[in-house]
């Protein structure tokens, strides 16, 4: 039988590259523990801060939702953005490039696999946090909530896919970049407090991080007091997230093409240590 080409090959590649992400994580049981239960401690700490100052119960819900979304950001920084650099080091990148598949399919596979793997941790934080602290959800529109979440994921992983090529071009600095972008993004995207508190100017600037608008919209849609703490209207946030999703995925394709061209021209990008 003739091998698949075109979109069939594209889909095969996505599934194949997602596979190590989804299966690999479950192979080491202690990783599942460390990846899911330990991060809950950070979330719990913030919950107790809000409890100590007698903040409204919805604020505890904000923290639990943020704790769940943290899983995706960590996955994007360490398993998406830095991934091509690691692939280069192991020799996989050269094999990916010389295969007839599309490199974009490889990146999409990484993203899909990462999303599924991070969902486990996110779901654990959400379920345990909700159960432990009696988070009062009041979902106004399930369809909108689903739409916001999916758009946030596409925008976030689009950003991660774009970073993957950029981090590869930056070489060793990729690891520092991951570290540098982790904590500041927690702070700036309003992980543990509504971003509206920054004021309009700062909140507008930090809205370029898809997490900021995604979290803000999700909070507005799932808590009774959500609309009062929202930075922008949910509709506008959905529109902006859609623009970001398209822009980041297009950016990922642009930088991937540039990386491939540079790799072939310079040769250094596919070198590995023996």
């Amino acid at each position: 039988m003739k091998p698949d080409t075109g979109w069939r090959l594209f889909l095969r590649t996505i599934v194949a590259r997602a596979y190590p992400r989804v299966i690999g994580q479950q192979r080491v049981k202690k990783w599942v523990f460390f990846e899911t239960v330990l991060p809950l401690i950070g979330t719990i700490a913030y919950v107790y801060v809000y409890k100590a100052i007698s903040a409204p119960q919805d604020y505890i819900g904000f923290v639990v939702i943020s704790g769940a979304m943290t899983a995706f950001w960590i996955n994007i920084m360490w398993a998406m953005a830095a991934q091509l650099y690691w692939e280069k080091d192991s020799g996989n990148l050269a094999l990916y490039i010389i295969a007839p598949n599309s490199m974009m399919a490889i990146l999409l596979g990484m993203a899909m696999g990462g999303m599924v793997a991070a969902s486990l941790r996110a779901a654990t934080v959400l379920i345990l946090g909700t159960w432990m602290f009696h988070v009062p959800f009041a979902v106004t529109s399930v369809a909108e909530l689903f739409g916001v979440f999916m758009l946030s994921m596409v925008a976030l992983y689009g950003l991660g896919m774009m970073f993957a090529s950029l981090f590869l071009l930056w070489g060793r600095n990729a690891f520092q970049m991951s570290a540098v972008l982790q904590e500041p993004v927690y702070f700036l995207s309003g992980f543990y407090f509504p971003v509206k508190n920054f004021g309009v100017a700062v909140a507008t600037v930090v809205s370029v991080i898809p997490l900021t608008l995604g979290l803000d919209a999700i909070r507005q849609l799932v808590f009774a007091t959500g609309s009062s703490i929202g930075f922008l209207s949910v509709r506008l946030e959905i529109e902006l997230l859609a623009v970001m999703a398209v822009a980041f995925v297009a950016g990922a394709k642009y930088w991937l093409d540039r990386m491939e061209k540079l790799a072939v021209r310079e040769g250094a990008l596919t070198d590995r240590r023996r």
Partner: protein, 340 residues
């Protein structure tokens, strides 16, 4: 897109060259140029097992990188399976594969079978065919019982066998083997050689390009061998013909007590074409390529004058190592030291 080159050689290069430009240092803005390949002309017909022999840094890997579409040539052109590698990489890629020595590709948390399946998918091979080929190839390389072992639990040798299977899994028209036995023990190397030979035997139209710095490997496996050094192709012929070039010369191996100045004096003697001196802890070894048998008497006299004791003197048939010494003026090991 330009049409496929009419020529149907498996591999063809015309005046192929590659220059690397690197910055001298952090603060130096000027670019330093290093010539990795220079005017390489090569033609490998379909079905041939072709070897590229040379020390580390000779340009072997650069040539392979160009042929597998990973690197653009600076000058000249190259084609694989009739397609230009620079302008038609998408046509070349489904037809080729590559296995490198010391490779750590794949994912340690996946099993051997899962890793191989994954790479098969990148070539669009359906699941049934992929698993059938995996079973067959694992059986041949003796890895069947490790199919469900995590790759992180494999030894270096077993992991390299898996990499070999990965390369052959896609049944490529042209396969590039870049030092495939690097770091393997003798037994594992032998297994790899046997597998490669058997695979080629049942697929006479498939082409293999092997780079190695193991002379015996090239001698044993290849139909033709090209010797490359400093990016230049020095010779290209069958191992037998290359060795025949030295048939008229006399090749001697001598074990003598440790030498110092005597070696330098030996170079000056008439009839000495090349000499490789290896100093061991308690002795010196000399590999001599002489114009004729008569020249050995001069060597013996010279060594005697320097009070060196000759423990062993042996005349032997030429090897590819001797061909390399004759062409480059030093042994492969010396050439590698020189390079570093």
């Amino acid at each position: 897109m330009s049409p496929a080159m009419p020529d149907q050689s498996a591999i063809k290069t015309e005046n192929l060259g590659r220059v690397y430009k690197t910055r001298g240092g952090r603060r130096r803005k000027s670019l330093e140029e290093r010539v990795a390949l220079q005017d390489v002309n090569l033609e490998v017909p379909r079905g041939e097992f072709f070897g590229l022999l040379g020390p580390n840094g000779a340009g072997k890997t650069t040539l392979i990188k160009i042929l597998v579409t990973l690197l653009a040539p600076s000058t000249g052109r190259a084609s694989v399976a009739g397609h230009d590698v620079a302008t038609q990489p998408q046509q070349v890629r489904p037809l080729i594969n590559m296995v490198s020595g010391g490779e750590s590709s794949g994912y340690g948390l996946l099993t051997v079978r899962e890793n191989l399946w994954m790479f098969g998918q990148f070539y669009g091979i359906d699941n049934k065919t992929t698993h059938k080929r995996i079973d067959e190839l694992l059986e041949v390389v003796g890895l069947s019982d490790r199919a469900n072992t995590k790759v992180s639990d494999l030894s270096t040798g077993l992991r390299q066998k898996m990499n070999i299977v990965r390369g052959f899994l896609t049944d490529p028209e042209v396969i590039f083997l870049d030092e495939p036995t690097l770091g393997l023990d003798v037994g594992a190397s032998r297994d790899v050689h046997r597998f490669i030979r058997d695979w080629a035997a049942v697929r006479p139209t498939r082409t293999m390009l092997l780079t190695t710095h193991y002379m015996a490997e090239a001698d044993e496996l290849c139909d033709r061998v090209a010797i490359i050094n400093h990016g230049k192709l020095l010779a290209c012929d069958s191992p037998a013909n290359l060795k025949r070039r030295l048939r008229r010369e006399a090749i001697f191996h001598l074990d003598v007590s440790p030498l110092d100045g005597a070696v330098v004096d030996c170079y000056k003697l008439p009839g000495v074409r090349n000499l490789v001196h290896t100093a061991r802890e308690d002795k010196s070894e000399l590999e001599l390529i002489l114009d004729s048998d008569n020249a050995i008497s001069g060597i013996i006299n010279m060594l005697t004058e320097h009070r060196a004791r000759i423990n062993n003197l042996q005349k032997r048939e030429p090897t590819l190592e001797d061909v390399f010494v004759d062409l480059v003026g030093m042994s492969l090991a010396e050439a590698e030291k020189h390079e570093t």
